[in-house]
Amino acid sequence: MSEPLRIALAVEGDTDLIVIKAAIASLLLGREVEFTTLQPEHSLAFGILGGDTGMGWSGVYRWCRQTASEGGGRVSGSALFKFHDILIVHIDGDVAGMTYESANIEETILDLPCKQPCPPASATAAELRKVVLRWMGENATPVRCVLCTPCMNMEAWVIIALFPTNSIFQRKGPEGWECHENPEGQLGQLPVSVRIRKTKSHYEGRKTEIAAAWPSVCAASSEARRFSTDFHTVHGVAHATKTSATGGAPTSAPSP
């Protein structure tokens, strides 16, 4: 077995993780990969203050803050880059419409909500990425890091991948699925026989289909295209870094 590519992921939820893994399977064409799912430390005993909110976007927030602390103020200083080739941080675009208060987060810099008019979806994604980078203590995306910001959430990518021709979902207009407020709700309107529930087992069962349809997802989603492009860039950097065996992850943006 050749040395696997080691990818660390901080993602909102289990089903998001499956979709991202499917995308990576499509992008890497059979290369052996080892994933580490990252979560913030928390204690159930401390309730909401202890981070007892599941993962969700507030979990990603807490993970970013904890890891930035470990990294001396920025995620790129974290030890995780010594043991992983790539870090993926996922946050759904609809978080741009949230407030910190809604997630019981005490923040002094209130850069949420940051939602922008859609289309284009990229406007909201760009603002949200700035917010996430602040959580990470970064001015720019670290070299071996990919920010994954599906708009408005991951279910948009799932719909494009699994139901490309379903008439119930056909949307008119240039914005496609990326500006839809509630793609998950659309999935729920499907006939029971073809409905996909937002559970780990249902998504796992469709993972291969999502991977196969990833080029179509990229064709229909600007953020999926961006994720693919950034991943390829970072993969190239990771490969070069691996051969030179450096430790940390210097900060400079691989793409805007």
Binding site: E32, V33, E70, A79
Partner: protein
């Protein structure tokens, strides 16, 4: 000492090579393949000893398995003729700078035989081949008998190739269990100085304590072991009838004897049955480190079993010292799930090695050494510990099953 171990096509280990030190700790999620790694070396041990049957494996603490489960069954691209390809044999190799022993074994999936058959066998001293076997060798030797074990009797005891083979032959996997250590459950694999589940520990303790006067090292191990059992003033061995013990628990003629430091005289003697299980695991590992008959190469599966996290950390620190300072060079492989064990490892010493064990997306076991560099040392200055970094997932290697 073995410095390199390779296992191929065995269970989840499709192809794994590990460069070993004196103390080797494997940490990873349940089901990541840690025990498979220890067992792979156990199969090589049986092969080096001349025969690979269920009995030979059990004696080494290896779970015997049918070929359908022993041989990796990862999907592979079909052969040119469209047939399904699967590895036909399992392969193991171990060696150091002076010698190497490797073997590939086969047993049919259907109607497996009691003994695995040697397909290839290679035993080398440097570049000199001492034993070479392939399916083309004529006349065909007994395929169920290892050739290296036969030749071994002709070699000088100082021969580095023989030393390697002897170390391999003596390898066993200990899986101490509380019931056996307490003396209330039978030992299924007895051996000297302790059984694979910790049986005969009272006698082994007696022998170890007896050796204190002859060996400063043994004396040190015994004293440090006591220092880890904070409630005990002393420990030793005694006939079961000589100390207070429930008749229901008197399953063995001899027991471990502790003196409680807090209770009044004549009411402060208790046996291993009544002692904390952590104390029993401490003494078990102390015996492995100090007893003259303990194997020079062995493994302990779930070495942190029954230990408070802080005790696991302290014990690991002591254990590393006991092994590294041993006058008789010894090599140890350990598996653990306890993150605090990591904080007791002096990893800046090349002889102590930590490996993360995990599964790739296709299920193959991946083993990676955790080395310490300046960036990690700086984490310590900022108050971070290796255990915490591992729990956070930053060391990779299959964080606990969550």
């Amino acid at each position: 000492m073995i410095t390199k171990l390779t296992i191929e096509s065995f269970k989840s280990l499709e192809k794994v090579t590990v460069e070993l030190g004196h103390i080797n700790v494997f940490i990873g999620a349940n089901g990541s393949g840690k025990s498979n790694l220890l067992e792979g070396l156990g199969i090589l041990s049986a092969a080096a000893n001349g025969k690979v049957t269920d009995q030979d494996l059990l004696q080494r603490g290896v779970r015997p398995g049918v070929p359908a489960l022993y041989k990796s069954a990862f999907p592979m691209p079909p052969a040119a003729d469209g047939s399904q390809r699967m590895p036909s044999h399992i392969f193991f190799a171990a060696g150091n700078t002076q010698a190497e022993y490797q073997v590939s074994l086969n047993n049919p999936l259907r109607d497996p035989r009691p003994a695995w058959r040697y397909k290839h066998e290679l035993w080398e001293r440097g570049s000199r081949r001492l034993v070479g076997r392939s399916p083309n060798l004529r006349p065909l030797p007994n395929p169920e008998q290892g050739l290296a074990a036969l030749l071994a009797v002709k070699l000088s005891p100082d021969d580095p190739a023989l030393r390697l083979l002897k170390e391999l032959q003596g390898y066993v996997i200990f899986s101490p269990s509380t019931g056996v250590l307490r003396g209330i459950a039978p030992e299924t694999q007895p051996r000297n100085p302790v059984g694979l589940s910790g049986g005969q520990l009272p006698l082994a303790i007696q022998q170890t304590l007896h050796a204190r006067s002859k060996s400063p090292h043994v004396n040190k191990v015994c004293q440090e072991a006591l220092s880890l059992i904070d409630w005990a003033k002393s420990y030793g061995w005694a006939p079961a009838g000589s100390i207070p013990l429930s008749p229901a628990a008197a399953g063995s003629p001899n027991v471990i004897r502790f003196t409680d430091r807090y209770m009044i005289k004549d009411r402060n003697i208790l046996s291993g049955y009544d002692a904390s299980e952590g104390a029993l695991y401490v003494l078990f590992l102390a015996v492995l480190a100090a007893h003259e008959q303990s194997p020079t190469l062995c493994a302990v599966d779930n070495a942190d079993h029954g230990l408070n996290p802080r005790l696991a950390c302290s014990l690991m620190k002591k254990l590393c010292g006991w092994y590294l300072e041993s006058p008789q060079p010894k090599q140890l492989l350990l598996t653990t799930h306890n993150p605090l064990v990591l904080d007791g490892l002096p990893l800046q010493d090349e002889r102590v090695r930590l490996f993360t064990v995990s599964r790739t997306e296709t299920g193959r076991t991946s083993v990676r050494r955790v080395t310490i560099d300046e960036s990690l040392v700086k984490k310590a200055q900022d108050g971070w510990t290796l255990s915490r970094l591992w729990v956070m997932g930053h060391l990779g290697g299959g964080v606990p099953n969550v």
